[in-house]
Subunit: 424 residues, 2 copies
């Protein structure tokens, strides 16, 4: 039975949006349909999200960028988060994730959904855990029923995709935390809570047990599962270990199950990975998850550059895109140090867009090559207007040229300009 | 005959510095000697450079970073350039190149040599061309004798390495500028001037004709030739074309000749190169130049991100280091737009250091792996002092953590911290 028959919400979205998505992606509708039908592409969009503009994620669509925003107990200001949301959208992000963990999360999410026409994602477990942490209790005391209720409430509210850490098993969590195992153990917040939950109760991951119920909720609203990598490596040295791979195998099976029951799925990927292992990781994950859209955090190819993680992430992201990554979650200069501010958000989005552009050039994607050709052609003619049209960040150009914007040459060389001197 | 017998200045430098270089590089003296002897490593150091601390460049030494500074006719302030020099050294650059093209270049160079214990490089042709440009004349009118005098004067002054565009031939220059040839033509300033010179006179590159004289001057002061890539691609679309490869072949032959006559040589490399072509370029250049140390500008894997070229360069640089690059010339956020300021200089040096670290991790270099292990170990323990010790930019950490520096958790998660929650 066709996916579109299994998922009515998706079918309706396609009726409304597929032709415009086809134009945007420069791909025929029939190709988008076929890719959605085989699960190598997802259409992110919950009909309950007001003024939503859905997008598709997955080969061979344009690589998409996500920006994580949201408060913490130590930096909690809704106006500030909404400014970050606007900044991320203006910088060219394709989606937003609200990772808020403090204050009235329902109200924050409402405000973000209303302000964001792009798909919005969340990690529902955060809302459940927050109640326990705020009360000074162990978040691992949560009852699975609370999580199911939260997922249902957020789906109804209009959330388009949700990170669910369904794939972390009791034994993989044990492997990740055992003595002489990993250097960094578990660095996913959802993963850490679930590992505690399983260890305390000596029971299997409750999301596994309630997976059918999650599928039922998600299908109703076309919420796309972003199957979370609770055991993603938190240090390059931990990349590709048994705990990580066990989780990927489980995620692949869960994705297939959800898909067969009408729910679209993406797979979340690492994380800290040395650059010579990035392509292997991507290929391995794609294989084990049968080509489901892959959504990575980085990958971050250097552990030791806090303050510059957007840059280390762009290196891994570019290599990842060349190897088949579909969706890049940004890293900002604030990663590992503090909550990002608006400037960090812009830096993170731009770094991810550059990584995507580098990877898409390598893949020979026509749109990426057209942009490069337009820039080179304009440069050859010292045509600054043309360069601005081709630039990933047009505003940056006038800002940097300052008083010399409008002149033929730039302040780096003045008339000592190779392009001028090379003219006949 | 041993290189050390052919080059007395080098022999003396080795007597004084090889043991400390051996400790710094964590490589035995015998290995350094053997690498220098076969030309796969160079020791940068002119005995006339006051308070010089020489370095080695080449496999398997630590990858080095160069920062280009220097004024232009549109931004000409010596105090500003000296501030950039200090900033670059503080950020961890290994060498400086003075690319000034305005004002009293001899005095500027003197001030930089005095302020810079690290090796300093120049492009002597700039000083020759400047006189013509300042006088409103075509720089291609220069007489080769002027260039030889300039090289001799700068060698005497203490310059440690010099870019000389000896490898651009008449026919390769023609290929690079012919109709329906390259998108961007020639983007090297030295290359553009030499191409004009050859075209006007219908004669071969004058540096080729006077190569023996250049060798004689360089040997006396152990000036290392940085054999310039006058035909480096200025757009990804131009990478690896016949003009570029012809020049590389000539550079390889010239490097061998100079080396046989006692002059150390590095080869300069691209430039704009799409990421899937970077490794191939590096391997090809290394082969055609018999493993001479390779000094690249980027490579820049995206044309269309002015304002972020340090980032696009870090992607190519990381891949390049993994493929065998020895020396990274930084790109700053100002590239293609304006003269870099001190903040750009720091951003450029850090981006190159991160690229080098990423590549050296991939190569399994022990020092790079130790840094990563130290960072991961400190993170696991939320040991912020340990993280600071391991960080490529320690100052960035306190700056970003701000009021929360000194606390156990960071403002990103507060107590909603995976590392804390994952503890038993």
């Amino acid at each position: 039975m066709s996916l579109f028959l299994r998922n009515n919400a998706l079918q309706k979205l396609c009726e409304t949006h597929l032709s415009s998505l086809s134009r945007e992606e420069e791909l025929p509708e029939s190709l988008l349909r076929a890719a959605l039908e085989q699960g190598s592409m997802v259409l992110l969009g919950n009909p309950a999200h007001p003024r939503l503009e859905p997008i598709v994620v997955g080969q061979p669509a344009r690589v998409k960028i996500n920006a994580n925003i949201g408060n913490s107990a130590m930096r909690n200001s809704l106006p500030c988060e909404l400014r970050k949301l606007e900044t991320a959208l203006a910088a060219g992000t394709d989606t937003i994730m609200d990772l808020s963990t403090a204050g009235n999360l329902t109200a924050i999410r409402r405000a973000m959904l209303d302000a964001c026409p792009s798909p919005l994602g969340t990690v529902p477990l955060y809302a459940v855990a927050q109640k326990y942490i705020d009360a000074g209790k162990d978040p691992a005391l949560f009852d699975p029923r609370e999580l199911l209720d939260e997922v249902a409430a957020q789906a109804e509210q209009g959330v388009d995709f949700m990170t669910l850490h369904c794939g972390i098993t009791e034994r993989a969590a044990r492997w990740a935390t055992e003595e002489k195992g990993r250097v960094m153990g578990i660095v996913s917040r959802g993963g850490a809570i679930l590992a505690r939950w399983m260890r305390t109760r000596r029971r299997e991951n409750p999301l596994l047990e309630h997976y059918d119920e999650l599928i039922g909720i998600a299908r109703r609203y076309n919420v796309t599962f972003s199957l979370g990598d609770a055991l993603r490596p938190g240090a390059g040295a931990d990349a590709g270990d048994a705990a990580q791979i066990e989780e990927v195998i489980v995620l692949g099976r869960l994705a297939r199950q959800a898909f067969n029951e009408g729910v679209q799925c993406m797979i979340e990927g690492p994380g800290h990975v040395p650059m010579h292992e990035v392509a292997g990781q991507i290929q391995g994950i794609k294989k084990l998850t049968r080509g489901a859209p892959l959504y990575v955090l980085g990958p971050l190819v250097v552990d030791s550059c806090p303050g510059y993680d957007h840059l280390a992430g762009a290196i891994g992201g570019a290599i990842g895109v060349q190897a088949g990554v579909d969706f890049l979650c940004y890293l900002t200069p604030a990663e590992h140090l503090t909550l990002p501010d608006a400037q960090d958000v812009k830096a993170g989005v731009m770094a991810s867009r550059i990584a995507a552009q580098a990877g898409e050039i390598a893949l020979g994607r026509p749109r990426a090559l057209r942009r490069e050709a337009a820039m080179a052609g304009a440069r050859k003619n010292l045509d600054w207007t043309g360069m601005k049209c081709a630039a990933l960040d047009p505003n940056m150009m006038d800002d940097r040229r300052g008083e010399h914007a409008g002149e033929e040459v730039c302040a780096m060389c003045g008339d000592f300009c190779a392009v001028k001197m090379a003219r006949p």
